[in-house]
Amino acid sequence: MGRKVKLKLLSRIAYVDLVHEVAEGLARDARFPKPAALNIGLAVREAFINAIKHGNRMDAAKRVEVEFEQNGDVFRVRVRDEGPGFDWNRTVDPLQPENVFRPSGRGIFFMRHFVDRVAFQKRRGKGTEVLLEKQLERAGRTSQPIKRRRR
């Protein structure tokens, strides 16, 4: 069992920076280089924003739980909301010419770019969980990428 850190916060945009800083700091503690740690921070930031806006639908009384776990060379983050759920498959491709000028719709796209694996799971009666995983690449070793699975 790896080290675990858990945050449970109300759905407030004001907490986004805090969550980002904790994510980036723990990634640095897990020996990710600075650029990779920033990418992890950005992915967790987007997942937290997503949980507030689309999961809890800006209901400030609902909470978002963010759980960080380092297990071997894998850094894993679970972001759970308490909302009615959302359809993560309905996101548009922000790279399509008709979407490039859209002011929104890049959050999940960023998450998928910044970590190795992103998976969504509906929790029965409890909202949605977003799982983010990033593999630590050690010098002198070819790392096995985390198998991408679609849920």
Binding site: I13, I49, V100, F110
Partner: protein, 111 residues
């Protein structure tokens, strides 16, 4: 995020610093550009050299500023995006939309 405005002839340069993210930088960027458009400024250069990173809300606001400027007949261009910001512009294909300059003098004469 901070936004300092300076004028070079008809061109307005906005020196941005810090991060352009949800709830703070995105709002300040919107306010700064909206104020210039309301003053009737037609040539706006956003100096991104001091911006450390942006999130999806910041990128979204940058796109929205570009659209509003275009609708008002103004030009909005970018100067010297830093490593992470440059990465995000490439990732989102926005580097194909924005005119991006490395040299301020060259940017100023492009309007």
């Amino acid at each position: 995020m901070k936004a300092n405005v300076r004028h070079h002839g008809k061109v307005t340069v906005v020196d941005l610093s810090g991060k352009i993210t949800i709830g703070d930088g995105d709002i300040k960027l919107r306010e700064a550009v909206n104020a210039l458009l309301e003053e009737g400024r037609k040539s706006i250069l956003l100096n991104m050299g001091g911006v450390s990173y942006m999130d999806s809300a910041g990128i979204g606001e940058l796109v929205a500023c570009y659209k509003r400027a275009t609708e008002k007949g103004a030009s909005l261009k970018l100067l010297n995006p830093t490593g992470k910001v440059q990465d995000l512009l490439v990732l989102t294909k926005l580097q194909e939309i924005f005119e991006i300059f490395r040299d301020e003098r060259e940017a100023l004469t492009s309007f």
